[in-house]
Amino acid sequence: MEQRVHPISKALKYVLIVVLAAIFLLPVLFIAFTALKSSSDLLTRPFYMFPEKLQWHNFVQAWEQGRMSMYMKNTALIALVKVPLGILIEALAAFALTRLAFKGSEWLFALFLIGMMVPMQATLVPLNMILNKLGLVDTYPGIILIYLGFGIPFGILILRGFFRTIPKEIDEAALIDGCGVMGKFFKIIIPLSMPAIATLFIFDFMATWNEFLLAQIFITKDSMRTITTGLLAFRGQYSANYPLMNAGVLISVVPVLIVYVAFQKYFVSGLAGSVKG
């Protein structure tokens, strides 16, 4: 029997949701206010005040002066190669770990997880030496390879967890129907794992889009820089153009929002499945 929810408790629930949403949205609102102010408006009036006069041209200026189209194109190129390729590699590894019965698969999984424990900062010097020896500094394959390496452990953790929730009986039925190993992977496992893959896509896209440390070390040419390092152009040694910087930040989050909206219907179920078993 369905339990009736008291109208007051229902109203309280909504009030709580609205309050929480407001708390989370407030910083974004202040970023928007700052982005729409002139420098003198920002400096002469409190930051939480609505702009005296809306400076919509800040967005145009940020786009043009900050060369954001170039930085966003570079970041998109890296993310759109790295994220699908990473997920494919991670899915193949997770498939092998969960579906191909071989000795030491648990140990191999633990070995992959060690990758998550290595601090990125500790790898900068050896990675720089390796990339230089291979002639891959200031190349997209160079930075993509590093991103792939750092992303694989997390991807395997998520996908392995989800693959384990798919009943083995389905594999057997596929085998009887004449499916080979790769057929099982592409025809059975991958379609059933779309929620986990979509979740991973969102996480991985966000991480790649927002990555700063590796990009600033391994990409030294301005024409190849990514959006996070490009946004630093608004900040000098002794000064910062906060209105343009905030306008730039708002522009830069649009692709992440689009990816999130596109994949959000899978998000919760993907996350829930990945941590089972």
């Binding site: 720089n128 190349t139 030294t220 040419k221 301005d222 900040r235 000064s239």
Partner: protein, 429 residues
Amino acid sequence: MTKRWQAFVGLLMIALIAAGCSSSGGTNSEAGSTSGTSGTSSAKKITVSVWALQEHTWIDGAAADFNAANPDIQIEVSKYAVDPMKEALKVAANSGTLPNMWSTWGGSLGSFYAENGLTADLTQIAKDHNWPSLYNQAAIDMGTYNGKVSGIPYHLNAVDMWYSKTVYDKLKLTAPSTFEELEAQLQAMKDGGITPLSLGGKNGWHVMRLTEQLLEHFAGPELHDKLNNLTASWNDPAVVQTFAKLKEYNDKGYFPKGYVALDPTEAVNLFYPGTTGLDIDGTWLDGNIAAAGFNVNDFGVFKFPTGRSSVFAEMFQVSADLDQATLEATIKVGEYLTSAEVVNKYIDSYGTPAALNVTYSENTPHLKPLLDMATKGSFLITDQALPQEVVQKLFEAQDKVALKEWTPEQAAEGMEKAAADYKAKNKTS
């Protein structure tokens, strides 16, 4: 489904190959010319990689001018913000991948590269090319370590007191000439509802500009120099008085609210509209005032009532790992980028040049008065004069005194211990 996946994988591979092919980001650069240890020499062209700061906007035009006039040399500029630059340089130094030439600061910040044999010895070149007639000698000296010139200077910055004329006119004040007068003005501003000092404590260096002037006042020039050279004990009454004065200013509310964690750029933002009365800042502030939409003529400068100003230099250091032809090309590039010709052409965005015989811009009216003050007497700014380990202790001491975790006496003791530890380590290593 399989076909679709095969197509997907195929497309991915094509995209990866395309990414590899377009890895130069569409620029017409030469193969392999990156942050490598030496310039890429081909039969005809030498590529000189230069790492500069993000705000060096003038360098793009200057490099383009140079490239057009020198078909045998190609300048390749990479720009970084301040902290990323420091980080990228340390990584490159440790992995042997420094560029041909990089922007850095004089004193103990640039000494790391010189003392570890990573920079070319430019002493003979400086003599042969008669640098003392081209650059301010103080700027050359600040990039000289153990008698070896290690960098081509491009900036010589002087730091002193800036005041808001709006605030001073409102309170009927004039620039002070004695320390007592300055202190009376700080209180007058506080009483008038204006925060006197526009200083932010985050990262330490902004508040340090007050600390070093207080130390100059209490210790006098001779002891101040000895403290910076670590030849006198930091556990000295003058140091205690300095920290006690910082504490007093903190207790009296002379700094902006929450200044210990306040970013210096945000602290200075309070100065432009007259929310605060005074800032201790450098020759570059005119440009920042104008960029923030305020009038530079609404501000004035005066000498902190001590004998000397704080100064520091910025320079291009040159990699030690270059063959002769690349070294010569790099020096040619460095001397061009720091020349009076480039300075005069880009003076509005160049900053405070180390080059002599330059024409200052009308848009930076306070630059010359500040440099004139420094000419009468100067000391190297503290975070470049002291070893970096001791600098970090000074920043910690400033914060802890403000947060009432340390007494001024404990701060002086902490400084002395850091100096002793550094000397002991340096002696044994």
